[in-house]
Symmetry: C2
Subunit: 412 residues, 2 copies
Amino acid sequence: METPGFAFEVLHQSGMARVGRLSTPHGEVETPAFVAVGTQATVKSLTPDDLEEVGTQIIFANTYHLYLRPGADVIAEMGGLHRFMRWHRPIMTDSGGFQVFSLGASIEQGVGKIASIFPDEAPAPSPPRRKPTEGRSLVKVTEEGVEFRSHLDGSRHWFTPEVSVQVQRQLGADIMLAFDECTSPLHDYEYTRQAMERTHRWAVRSLEAFHASRPLHGYPQALYGIVQGGAYEDLRRESARFIAGLPFDGLAIGGSLGRTKADMLRVLEWTVPELPADKPRHLLGIGEVPDIFAAVERGIDTFDCVAPTRMARNAGLLARTLDGKRLPKFRMNMRNARFKRDPRPPVEGCECYTCRTYSRAYLHHLFRANELLAYRLATIHNLFFVNRLMVLIRAALLDGTFEELKAHWLNV
Amino acid sequence: METPGFAFEVLHQSGMARVGRLSTPHGEVETPAFVAVGTQATVKSLTPDDLEEVGTQIIFANTYHLYLRPGADVIAEMGGLHRFMRWHRPIMTDSGGFQVFSLGASIEQGVGKIASIFPDEAPAPSPPRRKPTEGRSLVKVTEEGVEFRSHLDGSRHWFTPEVSVQVQRQLGADIMLAFDECTSPLHDYEYTRQAMERTHRWAVRSLEAFHASRPLHGYPQALYGIVQGGAYEDLRRESARFIAGLPFDGLAIGGSLGRTKADMLRVLEWTVPELPADKPRHLLGIGEVPDIFAAVERGIDTFDCVAPTRMARNAGLLARTLDGKRLPKFRMNMRNARFKRDPRPPVEGCECYTCRTYSRAYLHHLFRANELLAYRLATIHNLFFVNRLMVLIRAALLDGTFEELKAHWLNV
């Protein structure tokens, strides 16, 4: 990695997949790793102690949300995100780009990967499916940057690569992302190319702003570039080569990954081989179980996703099987009446606090009664579950049993 | 106390106030003690570990709510409340009477003490202030018992002293309460007398049902009687003498405590001297700081109240002073803009987890962003605060400095 204080070491390679160690000023991350999402400087319902107990190594916070509330200046004044939220391990922040395009307007189209890959888990407000040219966007993109409206109060704001770097300096995450324009599967080839080329010019400006600025909180920060290009092979390859050629500390894959899982896999297969082997690779917004296996075997080191934590708040517990039967979506619905009198642990064999302590009947009751404790207990389980899966995947890569592990989990 | 397995020992007397020790099959309670409310088998947002960390000795659950959801039979099947919710210290349950009258109908009047003593904290739905004879009550009281409708689905249910004891046997709390009719400050003398006399007949039936039944979960349960009589001196004295004359394990003071704090104090002054010195005394629904001092010095041993936990969910942190100034209502509003950039602990000098760990600015942000973590952190503080106040009160009673402590807190 380029920035002093950071390092990425590939400890083991197995096909495209690798086991690595990412070193940051706030400690190390064993990769491949899941990055828990803490949008508003809190992983919803959990304390940092809870996060450590479930094995979380690194979290992801959203620049757009924190810029609007409480304000990046407030967090800077409080000593940065780590001190503000009392999480003393690594943090990543995004550039604000994705939310500017998905939330920063009266959203007039389906933007980005969440809508395409997690149709059941799409963020509110749900974007109506119209063509980008229909409807009047409240997001105005120019060469200089993007004007958008706050989803909180409608106030107007202006983001540029320089503003994004400055805001992320104030937030003080270990890893920052370069400002990008996020396109959707509904954008055509021509627009996707224009947006990609603009993102490339913004990448150069982000690096300049990065080097022209200093960390504010007494430790260095790294900057990752973002590969765009939609679901078009030539664009993805071109973008990957361009971003890979810049002196970023790591590379992220963003924007539209297409409309289907197969599209996403192709995007990874086009993109990753163009990236340098010695830099960490982050995949934005992926985290369902099959996607984790697919991303890891295509050479991804870290990925963030709201799915495990959002699913928890909707009474979904991650599990591979239920009472001996496979769960194709890896999800138990704790509101289901079958659990009303079930004294067994929520997920049998799971060693998380929730499964060690409570019965299915109790979790069912808490969710039916809309009790606050339900959200925390389910979130603890789901993050523990994903982090535990990553431990299994790292071990399997090291001892050459990744294919068996994958077959066991995906039944393929 | 009458039931084997229970004991109450007065360790020290100071005027009417006393320091005691209540022994139950699930451990001891140092009195005077605050009983945290866990209506639906959960103290909202906290785990049992959290409850222990904040010094909670005993919790209170609501029979009416648990009978309707998940059902007392479900909790019985799961081994009782302690096992169901994984709280292994003492539990009290109420008789269901209060909620039958306050929630079990399209509430047509202000019922009971919460509406009168906590006007800002009245439970939803807020009762319109009409006379009991106006409107059509959906609660039907007969000599046999009470018919009511579920506030969840409108279904009809039937509670009697015998049903209440049976349901509380299923729940398995250490301390159960006898079924009573709860009157409001709007009931006139004549109706209050009739209801009190009916409550007395129900008290006798409750004791009979108690002795005719057996604990279901392998440990004994105690039964407290409830003194009624509204805000009328002759009725309160008569009720106290009647209930005190029955072989209950302890005595609770319920029903309307009048319309003002002064009324409540008078009710205590009429009632407590009529109660036996060797049995524990519980005051239902009281828990604001001035009320705690008032109840303790009038001889109350335990009291339950939703105020600290509900206030926490409304962004109110309990504190005596803020930045050197007294808080007459002992409440800081964490949503207040003054806290936006305040790096200090929420309540300076407080040793709870929340105040040891986070800033005012962070709590302010969490409440403004409606983040789930806010409710837990504030609840931890408020229960720690009340439990700590009870430690101070017990110590002050033992070393003869209660008046100084009270003056320090109430500035009187």
